[in-house]
Amino acid sequence: MLLIECPYCGPRDETDFKCGGEAHITRPEKPADADDQSWGDYLFMRTNSMGTHYEMWCHSHGCRRWFNVCRDTLSNKIHAVYKMGEPPPRVDDPTRSRSQ
């Protein structure tokens, strides 16, 4: 069970939280102008990173705030947590691609 540091409450067990999937997926400004391909990408396509991964978590059994987590999907090491709207931190560990 992960130990996640809520930026508002402090470290808590994973069972306090829920994961909201990949972070930094921005809703198109004008959806009506999006073509089918780009709208489909926005809806369904995710990076499925092996290694460094940015994702959203919600402290659903605590403060109910959403925030971002930068986690290594192989080691589960959490590099950083940061609030919504803050820029994603740069991490030295590169994202490993599956073909390697």
């Binding site: 992960l2 130990l3 921005t26 004008k30 009506a32 999006a34 809806l43 959403w66 709207g85």
Partner: protein, 1001 residues
Amino acid sequence: MSQGYRLFNGGLIQRDQPRTFRFNGQEYIGFAGDTLASALLANGVHLVGRSFKYHRPRGIFSAGSEEPNALVQLEVGAYTQPNIRATQIELYQGLIANSQNCWPSVEFDIHQINSVFSRLLPSGFYYKTFMWPKRMWMTYERVIRNAAGMGKAPTENDPDIYDKTHAHCDVLVVGTGAAGLSAALAAARTGARVIVADEQSTAGGSLLSRRIQLDDEPAGAWVDAAVLELEALENVTLLTRTTVTSYFEHNFVVAAQRLTDHLPLGSCGDQPRQRLWKIRASQVILATGAHERPLVFKNNDRPGVMLANAAQTYVNRYAVRPGHKAVVFCNNDSGWEAGLDLSDAGVQVTLVDIRGQAAPELEAQARDRDLEILTNHVVVTAHGRRHVRQVEVARLNSDADGLSGSSRIIDCDLVCMAGGWNPALHLFSQSRGRLSYDQNLSCFVPGESVQAERSAGAANGTFDLGFAFSEGREAGKAAAADAGFRQRTKSVSPKVDAKSNSTDIRPLWLVPSASDHPPAKSFVDFQNDATAADLQLAVREGYRSVEHAKRYTTTGMGTDQGKTSNVNALAIIAQITGASIEATGTTTFRPPYTPISFGTLAGRDVGEFMDPVRRTPMHEWHRAHGACWEDVGQWKRAWYYPQEGESMHDATRRECIATRSAIGILDATTLGKIEIRGPDAAVLLNRIYTNGWKSLPVGACRYGLMCAEDGFIFDDGVTLRLAEDRFLMHTTSGNAARVLDWLEIWLQTEWPDLQVYCNSVTEQWATAAISGPFARQLLAELCTDVDLSNQAFPFMTWCTGHVAGIPARIARVSFTGEVSFEINVAADYGMALWSQLMLSGEKYGITPFGTETMHILRAEKGFIIAGQDTDGTVMPADVGLARMVSSAKDFIGKRSMLRPDSLREDRHQLVGLRTDNPKEVLPEGAQIVAEIKPEPPIEMIGYVTSSYWSEHLGHSIALAMLEKGASRHGEQVWLSLADKQVRASVCDPRFYDPNGERMNG
């Protein structure tokens, strides 16, 4: 029966505290401090069970949690537990245990015939033989499962209670042997919060099994002093009888503590039986020791053949002589140490060593005791069915791949196997650490740590006791320092006086045989009856990966998870394939380390605490009036109210007619209620709902449809505008929390600029909905400060007033199709409101109705229920609600409604169905086909989502999703049911009052 094998002196048993117990119906006596296994051995009982597949007689094999053979059915009735290791059951007065997997008795077992045919029962036999015909597999399986069984699960409810606790510490030490105690002391002395856990009843680990001098005193004295110091420290929690079973991410470790298992049944009052510890540790030290490996030779599974360290433990710790005449078969010095201890306890010992020599000091001591010593020799086979009687020994050839000369028979009643040691790497591996193979030690040792963890002592491959002490001490210091406790403390390891410290070993994974190769009945996995020949067959059939060979032969897949078999198995596979052991690799170690009771995992979350129950303020009234319940989310909702002798069908018929012709009353408290407040509240609703909200005046209500970004319907409900900046949103009962989450995620992640707050107020309000032709009259009696006329208070508006003197918010909305008023009062007034409505409504024939009648009434109206008539692939236009989709604004899901798939002409659309036979009520989920063909495939064109008998209309009604349904009204379709085909015609889903004149009136 006397304890004929008990020693007069020594051991950690209390001879003044006898314990009577029954095994297989026979009464025996042991002592406090015994395990069931040691007490049985003290009474000369070796044969305790039958093996899994061949039903071979099996005896006590080990003295610890690695036991593969001696699994018993402990206790009877509700307290019974299957597959419990006799080596870990602490003896208590009145204990009852029985052998498993044998019938009629362990001495004579009918299925031992399997053993005779074992050559015909190789790996995969069942699957290969019973594959055809396919339909018979279920029958075969039942018979096979019966024959190849483990114990029997209890059939009664578990009468015990269990606890859970969460704990945090700076350093968690697993194991209390030499390394573990040293680590715990060193860490504790820095002031760090330390938890120390050990699966045994007392601390000490292997120090309890060996005759070691520490600082010129027996090891027990040092252990006692260490325990005293730890117990006295406030920053230390010492947990015995506690198995650390699982090691998860971020140093989250789970342990099962046995609190009262060692006490007589019924003697513990309401004490919990076990406690599950969920520990988050900054640092973990694994001092889990090592398991001895058996040697693989013919009939190495006979009762009386056991691990050398087990025999040593029985002699030293339990003062039991496991035999009178022992053959110790070893490939390293630890076997010699065991042999010397056995000899000192009066056992006649022959030492058979694969190697040419042992450590000189050991050889000298063996000669002093006049032991027979056979170096460069192996035990080729054991004889004796229910107990070993003899072994055949032979000299190894110089290449160690065959025998030289003829074999020789040695009489014995005990064979001790010392095949080297495997560090107990289970927790290390669970922590995701990689194992590496140590050629010198011939075993896997921990590689690099992945988590904040370090291994120490035998668990780290440090088999020398002196080094184990110092390594433990250093690990304790380092872990405390890494957790922030750097205080310098004084810790000195004791001076160790052991018989030998040599780790010299000559691995011989499979003992060669004179005749057949590999020899039959050379067991690798004792619990699952997997032999060396099975492994060879697996490799020959192409299962070269160790993971595949494991599954094919089931090696390591028993309840012992292969603690004594895994390394032997993969070494033999490596030998057959010619690959190195390192390259062959290990299988995965999975939690738990030893089995955990379901009760322990469940803790107190059983019975009514398993899932929270939500009850409305009117719940007691419903109960007192005989309501049957429907679970909606966690709510208990009244389903229907049967009167004397009424079936569900009778009751709902009566409730429907009453509502359509007089008044029905529904407890609608459970509908989700979210208050949305702030200057941008209308903007939020506009983006969340498919229809427009900005123009909705204060005092009005509007039905809204909510879609996910993929354009599919997600929830629906009526929202009231309470003020310019304030709305009250209703959601479906089971979806309230998800809708609130949905609003929150958009507000917090995509639109943080919107000034809106959302707050769940579901439980702050109680709601009674009255519905029917007399609803207005009844309300007028109780509510004098509101003009209830249709002109003053039209459909889809709300107002405030007093009902029966209670401040209320009244909304004119309708889910039944009749004139309805939803009366909302503060939750505490709910019962008072309801009671008054019932009292005053009596003269109008007011009838309470439940969710079933509500469903029928709404289906008559063709109103959908999100989640019943929609399934996450349904868009608003599919259910005839295209008019609810605004073209003037963007909202969540809008763009998806223009994707090619959304515009397909053959989408499923909501329709009504009327069966040709009006009395035929279709089952929900029934598949719709255009025509019945004599055989499949028949194309399915839709399915029934809701189906009821409509008493008011006098015929059955159904809602269905049907391909191109909107353009099929009037067509006929077929429904293919289990026992018949039914014809129906497609119609408008609004069966009753399609223009809504009644509810608007």
